[in-house]
Point group: D2
Chain length 135, copies 4
């Protein structure tokens, strides 16, 4: 499990004064980038040097409670599934101050050659990282 | 079925040069606002005057093909399910120029009193609108 | 003068419930894209086919009154200055319903070869368009 | 001087593959929030408990060099002017890895009662903080 903590920014809320639902996926992607920071060079090197990315093929979210400006999202990232060319990240999101669950997200990515936008087998070092967070 | 056409903006893409996956939900929400524009006063009046909103309780997306700057997303909005206090929007998204399906989204909303953030029965005029787009 | 009307979206506001100041520049850029829509193929063709873009070298804004969800921004685009390799757009922004001025923006762009990110002389057709909106 | 370091996120770039110009103001606002983190309770407490905010009345930016995914922006925040009811933040932004200046921003805020959206005298503790970063 990898932990990523993300304060809600002033501009993250909508006209109902809660974090806009689509932004939870931005938070999730940030948490994934944070997890991949455990690789040497992180997601940046994976993308820019090795030209490997993780475009989403499916994602979903259950929203349980709202987040507001002033809250910090505590995001627990795990990897429930590791396939040959794809993997699934899970983001369990909590309001940091009281531990309330706010949302649960799944994010299925195709590990891809970014130049051809074509799925490729997961490289060994990435697979090893994902295995460490498998649940 | 309600149609909403949305050009990809210069800033909508990511470092892989395709529309960032989270933004498809922004597009979906815009399409929902466009559908609700069929109500007198639209979503604006619903939210600001009647204090009724539609926070998401669940959403999901399947991504089939990328969208890029220069593309126009053609979004077909339908309403597959209308419950007592909630409804589900479906967004079938296509690349306008060649009709390729790019994504399919589901968006489950709790019709809510925005001041209490509590689900309420769907008002009659909103229900009638949703029924017209039921599939 | 080119007119662009832009409804404030549900997610455009911040925790003070007004449009976040940075977003006025997004609105301005949209208005510029709308103006360039008067070119054959619009900004899309300029960028994707001719590989010419307009990165900002300077911008500034005076904020006079807030915009809120439910407002429509009426944006009047003019071109106060046309240089050899750069031009300045001006965005006079008003609240549509009552004509209140909300902001005035200047946006200085270097007309650029996007592959080299290097300024180039303004092409004739672009210059002719800009001249039509000079004030 | 207050230092704020901000990695460019995957979704921060535009179709020219550089950070979209409007987003520099988002970065600036984050840097301001980081500076105000030196107050007890930070910007969050200022806004939510004391109902005091800092809406922009003017801002401007000079863009010198592009930022790309993979870069980290090093932002130096100073306060060149402290008035009775307003202040000016300056953000000197550099590419962290090589020290290249990428942009210089000014951000003039009216210290305001957020409920009335009306400027108020700068509170003593906020003034003391700003004085510490005056240049």
């Amino acid at each position: 499990m990898h932990i990523y903590e993300r304060p809600v920014k002033f501009e993250d809320v909508d006209a109902a004064n809660i974090v806009f639902f689509a932004r939870f996926f931005n938070y999730g992607h940030e948490a994934m980038e944070s997890l991949l920071g455990e690789l040497e060079g992180g997601y940046v090197k994976l993308v820019l040097v090795r030209k490997i990315g993780m475009p989403a093929v499916h994602c979903e979210a259950d929203f349980v409670a709202p987040l507001r400006f002033g809250d910090v999202a505590r995001i627990e990232v795990t990897v429930p599934r590791i396939g040959h060319r794809s993997c699934t990240y899970k983001y369990d999101m909590f309001r940091q101050k009281d531990g309330t669950r706010v949302a649960t997200l799944l994010h299925v990515c195709a590990v891809s050659d970014l130049e051809k936008l074509k799925a490729i087998p997961i490289p060994d070092d990435v697979r090893a990282l994902l295995e460490r967070h498998k649940r």
